[in-house]
């Protein structure tokens, strides 16, 4: 690679972008103006933000003066709130159950005529069934019938009136009233609530012995609210607090009546102390904001320049000029990539600096928000380079695919949809930086950044290497993809085609090649995953072996094998070539079986490491265990777990899908991509990791031997050993002495191989792989061409 060419292209592209007024405005002017304007708007709006009162309909008789007051006038008693001023947030309307029904009927009647809308509300009437609006005049109650008491606690007779509506009717009325929005909460005190309370208190005051007192079976007040409305939820929370406080007060009075100190029920108070250092609280808030903004701005800052540099060049006709120059495709990609990175980083930096400065001033006006810590900007700048590189590579590859700037802009949304969950999930409470999370692209960066911004360096530092490694790996993959796009004739010189479904389907059938194309391989893999996803809902989760067998048979035959076989028959002209059904070389089958035998201890160790990194959920582990409980037929297990999956999965993944990917022109890419689909098909993530790696091994066997059969033999052997070794019990371990030479018992069941055995096995595996490597394999035409090009390129460099 000629870095001089890369520098030339980079300098030219940057100068070109800097001469574009739109780019200058988006990168420099907009951030400088945007955040101060937003801050100003925020401060203006903040003055209008205040809490609105909510209305509560309190139904039923309340206790008399012997009990602490719940309602005082049209408000709840002030001593029931933390701050007396908070009492204004709850407006209480008293009434009987019958009045509740009447009110409910009134609120759900058709709206009155227009002239009635402007009727002035009476001073202490309940609110009408008004629509929700930003400036909610909820403080004005609507008009109730004149028979309603207007203020003060209700003094009802100890016994309920004969015409007291039933609880069902009250509940229905309360539902209607709350749903209509006239009241946010209805609190219903049963008719015998007050009398029972009163009777109990009188017995306490009369110092009656416990057996002579009435049973403490006070009927529960019923609280009706609407969880679908935020205002109702808020009112409910407030009322629940008030009622809890009131209950405590009643309890204290009961204690006094029973000659006990009032604090006996809550004999101690808990005092909290916030030990957060100065600025750490604010850092905790900004630690969620900054990483999110970093990634969003890095993505959008990369996307638009990438579109202009690739799709825009195609439209303007300058790409062909550049392609005919001495600059290699890789050099062109690197030059453009560095340009996109530069603009992505500039976008982020300017936005963050502008936001940080605006945040400082806004924080001064709003004491509840602290300023962002300056160290957070430093960490963000450090994270900026890998994040920009990753998104720049992705954006460049997508932009290269687009024929025009208009088409390129359509690709932004899918990219955002894929990236957003990886950015948002780390913000959720309970998601912490762990080794497992640090290996997830983008998510690991966000979590690491959060820890650094919060100042939790001791916790974060050990996770820096895995996050950096994964990010760099993803960057290189993205850049590789971009280079491939620039090397693809169909991408660079693709012309518009009218999509006619009939023609397309006819072409698929008419122009069948002996083996599937790359697109058909991808389609098969995606189909398998999608069918598996939906079938997972239709099939019951197995709880025993019979269920497992049924699920396995259906999954293998319907999900895995059927799509692959159907696509082979319909889309290829040589199923034998596609499915690699040729005879394997002599000794390949026993070699494959031996390879599986020697890989088994290594796979076992790897599985333990994966489980340590990503422990299986207890519920899932218990369910897996239950599937193999009780007496079982070994042959049945081997058939279901080993033989059937080996045949079906090999035909699908190493047959159809691998054959398709071979057209990429790189043997290892074909093997890896087909293995990724193979791994994703497995139900549990922990299993997916191992099966992907095993899939690479089996794919290698298939390519080197040109036959599926060694892979099938390997797969059967591998699965059989995994199942059998996982079922070894302590008794069997003791009974078979040779087992002790090679492994320890892992828990109640299963084996954990000794390190020496693993080392010897590794040596044997390498020897067998070397033998397979020596086998002359048949290259695809694309692989032959790529090899010739690479050979000549190497010669040119050497010469």
């Amino acid at each position: 690679m000629n870095w001089k060419n890369i520098r030339l292209i980079f300098v030219r592209e940057v100068r070109d972008q800097m001469r574009d007024r739109r780019t200058l405005f988006m990168i420099f002017v907009l951030p400088i103006l945007l955040y101060p304007l937003l801050g100003m708007t925020f401060l203006q709006i903040a003055q209008f933000v205040h809490e609105h009162p909510t209305s509560v309909f309190v139904v039923g008789p309340l206790p008399d003066e012997a009990e602490p007051a719940l309602v005082s006038g049209s408000r709840f008693a002030e001593d029931l709130f933390e701050e007396p001023d908070e009492a204004r947030l709850l407006i209480a309307h008293r009434g009987t159950a019958a009045q509740l029904l009447v009110e409910a009927q009134r609120q759900t009647k058709p709206k009155p005529a227009a002239h009635d809308k402007h009727r002035a509300p009476q001073a202490d009437a309940a609110p009408a069934a008004e629509k929700e609006s930003a400036s909610d005049p909820a403080s004005e109650p609507s008009t109730l019938p004149d028979t309603l008491p207007e203020t003060g606690p209700e003094t009802e007779p100890a016994t309920a009136p004969a015409t007291e509506p039933s609880l069902t009717a009250v509940a229905a009325a309360a539902e209607k009233l709350v749903r209509s929005g006239a009241y946010q909460v209805v609190v219903y005190f049963p008719p015998d609530f007050a009398p029972r309370l009163q009777d109990y208190r009188e017995a306490l005051l009369a110092h009656k012995p416990a057996e002579a007192r009435p049973a403490l079976a006070i009927p529960s007040p019923q609280l009706y609210f609407n969880a679908a409305q935020e205002k109702s939820q808020l009112a409910r929370a407030r009322v629940a607090e008030v009622l809890a406080k009131w209950r405590s007060q009643i309890g204290e009075r009961n204690l006094v009546a029973g000659n006990l100190p009032p604090g006996a029920a809550s004999c101690f108070r808990v005092v909290s102390h916030d030990v957060a250092e100065a600025g750490r609280r604010e850092a905790a808030m900004w630690s969620k904001v900054f990483p999110f903004l970093l990634l969003i701005w890095a993505l959008t800052g990369a996307f638009y320049p990438a579109i202009d540099l690739c799709a825009g060049e195609k439209e303007r006709g300058t790409l062909e000029t550049l392609l005919s120059s001495p600059a290699a495709r890789t050099e062109i990609v690197w030059g453009k990539l560095l340009t996109v990175m530069l603009f992505s980083m500039a976008t982020v930096m300017l936005n963050l600096i502008s936001l940080g400065i605006t945040g400082l001033f806004v924080a001064g006006q709003l004491p509840q928000f602290g300023p962002p810590p300056w160290s957070s900007l430093l960490w963000l700048l450090v994270a900026l380079i890998p994040v920009s590189a990753l998104f720049s590579g992705l954006c460049l590859a997508l932009a290269a695919f687009a024929r025009s700037t208009k088409e390129g802009q359509y690709y932004l949304m899918p990219l955002v949809l894929v990236t957003m969950p990886l950015v948002i999930v780390p913000m959720a409470p309970g998601v912490e930086l762990t080794l497992g999370n640090s290996l997830i692209p983008v998510t690991g960066i966000v979590l690491l950044l959060r820890s650094f911004v919060e100042g939790d360096y001791a916790h974060a530092l050990p996770f820096v290497p895995p996050v950096v490694a994964v990010t760099i790996g993803c960057c290189l993959l993205a850049i590789r993809w971009a280079v491939d796009q620039f090397n693809s004739e169909t991408v660079l010189f693709r012309e518009s085609e009218r999509l006619d479904l009939r023609v397309w389907l006819w072409r698929l059938l008419r122009d069948r090649e002996p083996t599937p194309s790359v697109a058909e391989a991808v389609l098969c893999g995606v189909l398998i995953l999608v069918i598996k996803f939906f079938l997972g809902f239709a099939l019951a989760m197995p709880t025993d072996f019979a269920g497992l067998a049924k699920t396995a048979v259906v999954t293998q035959l319907v999900v895995v094998l059927t799509p692959a076989l159907l696509m082979t028959i319909m889309l290829t002209s040589s199923p034998r070539k596609t499915l690699l059904l040729a005879r394997a070389p002599r000794w390949a089958l026993p070699a494959a079986a031996l390879l599986a035998l020697f890989v088994h201890p290594l796979a076992n160790l790897l599985q333990q490491a994966v489980l340590k990194l990503y422990p299986i959920n207890d519920e899932v582990a218990a369910r897996l265990e239950s599937m193999f409980e009780g007496p079982f037929n070994v042959w049945a297990i081997l058939l279901v777990i080993a033989v059937l999956p080996a045949i079906c999965e090999e035909l699908a993944f190493r047959g159809f899908i691998l054959s398709g990917f071979r057209h990429l022109g790189h043997k290892w890419r074909a093997i890896i991509f087909s293995s990724v689909f193979f791994g994703l098909t497995h139900a549990i993530f922990q299993q997916s990791v191992i099966t992907t790696l095993i899939g690479i091994l089996i794919g290698y066997l298939a390519v080197q031997t040109g036959s599926l059969w060694p892979g099938i033999v390997y797969h059967i052997t591998h699965n059989s050993l995994a199942v059998l070794s996982g079922r070894v019990t302590a008794a069997e371990y003791e009974r078979f002495a040779p087992l002790r030479w090679i492994a320890n018992l892992a828990g109640e069941r299963g084996l954990s191989y000794h390190w020496t055995v693993a080392a010897l096995a590794a040596w044997a595996v390498l020897s067998l792989l070397y033998w397979f490597h020596r086998q002359p394999y048949r290259k695809s035409p694309e692989e032959s061409l790529q090899e010739a090009i690479d050979h000549h390129a190497a010669q040119s460099l050497a010469g």
Binding site: N5, D16, T318, L323, P781, S796
Partner: protein, 261 residues
């Protein structure tokens, strides 16, 4: 020197299926000559020239330019050629001088030689009046001159022109053709494609008539006239392609064979 042997290029098209744009095309071009590729739209001329300029890879056959293979030694080939087509644009936000200098540097010209070379080219092509004007503000003729300057700045031995007069008026076309003839006189090996017969008649030393991806006739103009007893090149062209017109285009029904060559 350009050698093309059994060159084949096949595409996959949604409606036509497997489409062979070039079917075993062979020709050669020598230094100090202009070799013309003459044919109607869709004949395969642009495909052939894109393969020569290493933008596309052939499906079959071999192409060598000054001894370098276009597939396996693409980087060396690009140093040997200057390519210009109706599709090659110039950068709107660069001046004429900046653009030519940019490509000069990409071709590896040292700075001192580059400035001298560019001065000579700009003088010869009469571009000094607009050397500092941005590409967006240049007229069509000026843009074409910039493209020519860009293509010859590194003094390549081989030049490939793909319908360079498309969209140009008579005066500009004439000036361009004169420039191409001058380059031929300097000893360059030039491949020139066009669908305008008069251009081919005036400019080309040898001509290949291309139709439906195949060469129907190839040779000097005198040879072609003698062979087909037709003095007028345009009439000769129609005579050659009229036989094809009554038969279906074989390219649309061809299934791809094994990799040839």
């Amino acid at each position: 020197m350009i050698h093309v042997r059994e060159l084949t290029k096949a595409y996959t098209d949604l409606e036509r299926g497997k489409f062979v744009a070039l079917d075993r095309v062979s020709f050669y071009a020598l230094p100090g000559q202009i070799f013309g590729l003459l044919g109607p739209n869709g004949a395969g001329k642009t495909t052939a020239l894109r393969i020569l300029s290493t933008m596309l890879r052939p499906t079959g056959g071999t192409v060598s330019i000054n001894g370098y293979d276009v597939v396996t030694q693409a980087a060396e080939v690009r140093h040997q050629i200057g390519f210009l087509s109706a599709n090659t644009g110039i950068y709107d936000r660069m001046t004429a001088w900046e653009m030519v200098a940019y490509f000069g540097r990409l071709y590896g010209l040292p700075e001192d030689k580059l400035d001298a070379r560019m001065d000579a080219i700009f003088s010869r092509l009469k571009m000094n009046d607009f050397r500092n004007v941005l590409g967006a503000k240049l007229s069509t003729g000026m843009r074409q001159k910039v493209s020519i300057a860009r293509a010859i700045v590194h003094d390549p031995p081989v030049l490939i022109f793909d319908e360079p007069t498309t969209g140009l008026d008579v005066l500009v076309s004439r000036a361009l053709l004169r420039t191409v003839a001058e380059l031929r006189d300097q000893g360059k090996c030039i491949v020139f494609s066009t669908h305008i017969m008069r251009e081919a008649e005036k400019l080309c030393d040898r001509v290949a008539i291309v139709h439906r991806g195949c060469i129907r006739a190839c040779g000097t103009l005198e040879e072609l006239r003698d062979q087909h007893a037709q003095h007028d090149l345009e009439e000769l062209f129609f005579q050659l392609i009229s036989a094809d017109s009554n038969t279906p285009d074989p390219r649309s029904a061809v299934l791809l064979e094994e990799y040839r060559g």
